[in-house]
Amino acid sequence: MARMKFLCDAERCIECNGCVTACKNEHEVPWGVNRRRVVTLDDGVPGEKSISVACMHCTDAPCAAVCPVDCFYTTPDGIVLHNKDLCIGCGYCFYACPFGAPQYPQQSAFGVRGKMDKCTFCAGGPDADGSAEEIKKYGRNRIAEGKLPLCAEMCATKALIAGDGDVVADIYRKRVLKRGGRPQTWGWETAYKG
C-alpha cells in the first residue's frame, strides 16, 4: 500500500497561494479556517523561501495521541483522518500539532470552538465515500475517486507534490540532481575557491 506524503519544494514555491485557493474552493472550507497555508520565510529579504504547509499526516500523530475522545484514525494509505461526530472541540490537537494544521470554526459569542477541521489529503472522513454527509463535514473525497489532492494538482510550479511517498521522493531526488547553477553542496566554495 502506498504511504501518502506531501512535499513542498522550497526552491520552486512562488507563494501564489493557488494551493490554498484550490483547497478552499474544492472543500467549501468555512471562513477563517485554513486547511493549507503558505508561509514565507524572510519575506522581502534576499534568499526568502516560501513553503505551503498543511496536515503532514504524521505516522505518530501528536493530535491522535492527545485527543481525549480518540477521534483520529490512520487509513491504510497513511492518511490521518478524524471523526467530526466524536470531536468535542477541546483544542488539544491544536496545542500538540507542530504544523498548526487543526482549525476550528468559531461557533458562538463565548468563543467556543466548533468541531476541528483539517486537511484530509482529499480523503474525506469516516462517512460513506462521496456521500452528502461526507462532503458537508470533510469536503470532497478525491482519493476514493482515484485522484490526488487538488492543492498539489493545481500547483503551477509543481512545488507542491502529493502522493505515494516513494514516488514523491523519487521526483524530488531527480530534481535535485538535475538542478543547474551553482553547486548547492556545502563546503564547495571552500574546497574549490569559487
Partner: protein, 346 residues
Amino acid sequence: MATNPKDPRARQRRRKRIALWSLVAILAGALLLPLGGYLYVNSVEAAPAQPAGAAAAEQQSNPRANYWRAVREGYEGYTAASGPYTTNVLIQNGGQNWRQVRNGPVAAVLPWVMAAMILGLGMYYVLHGPVKLSSPPSGRSVERWTFNERVLHWYTAVLFILLAITGLSLMLGRALMIPWMGLNAFGAYAGIAIAIHNYLGPLFIVGLILEIAFWVRYAIPKQVDWEWFKAGGGYFGGHAHPSAEKLNAGEKIFVFWLATVVMGIAVSITGIVLDFPNLGFSIQTMQISSIVHGVAAIIYVTIILMHMYLGSIGVNGALDAMTTGRVSAEWAKQHHDLWYQEVGRK
C-alpha cells in the same frame, strides 16, 4: 663610604656586582622576552582577529542547515492566510513537549495520587473507623456556620463536584471510559461534559472568590496550629485531640490555603485561558495553562476528597455544621476547643 678606584679590593667588589646584575638581567630577559609574543598578538592582532574567527565559525556550520534549523525551532515567517487558528510558524516545538508532559506525568502518573488518597481514606475508615464523640451530646448546640455561609459552601461544593467529574472524564476518559463505553457513547458524553465544564467554570470562580473573602479571617495560622500538626491532628496513635480554633490547622493549611487559595486560583486563571480561546492567548500560554490546570485540579480534588471524608463519615457530628449550621457543644469542645471557649465567653 668613599671608595678608591685604585683599591684592588674595591675593583673586585665592583666586578662581582656587575657579574651578579648581568646574570639577573639575562635570567629576567630569558624568562620575559619569549612572553613578548603574546603582547604582540594582543596589541596588533586583537582587532582583526574577531571577524576572522567569526568567518571561521561560519565556515564550520552550514548556512543552509542553520536556516532550516531555525525553522525547526519555530522561526516566524509571513502568511497571507488569516484566521483565529492560523499561524505564521511552520513548526512549533512546544506541542511535542506539551504532549509528553500532558500524556505522561499529568494524565498517567498524577491521578495515582488521587487514587492513593481514596485508598488511604478507605483503609483509615476500615481500620480506625470514624472519630467518635468522647462524651454523649447533651442537647446543647452552638452555631458554627451562618445560613449565608452554608449557601455559599454548597453552591461552590456542587459546582466543584460537577467540574471535577466532567474534568476528570475529559482527562482520564480515553483510558478509563472508552474501553467500556465505546467511542460513540463516550464522544456524546464528552461533548456534554466539556460544555458543562466550560459554562460552569466561571460560576465556580465567583463562589471561590467569595469563600476566600469570607473565610480568610478564620484561616490565619497561629502557634497553636503548629502544635496541632505536631500531634498529627489527633488522628493517629493515642494522641489527645490537640487544641484548635474555629478552623483546625489541617483545615487552615490544606483545605483553605493549599486547596482553595493556591489550587483554586491556579485552576481559575488557567481555566479562563482555556475557556476563552477568542481572547487571543498564544498557543504557548494555552499549553502551559492546560498543564497547570490539570496538575492543580488533581491536587485540589485530592485535598477535597480528604475534606469530604472528614466532613461526613470520617468525623461523627461534623456534617451538622454544614447542614443545620449548628454543632453540639460536646463536638465543639472536642474538636475546636479554643473556638468553643471563645463562643462561650460571648
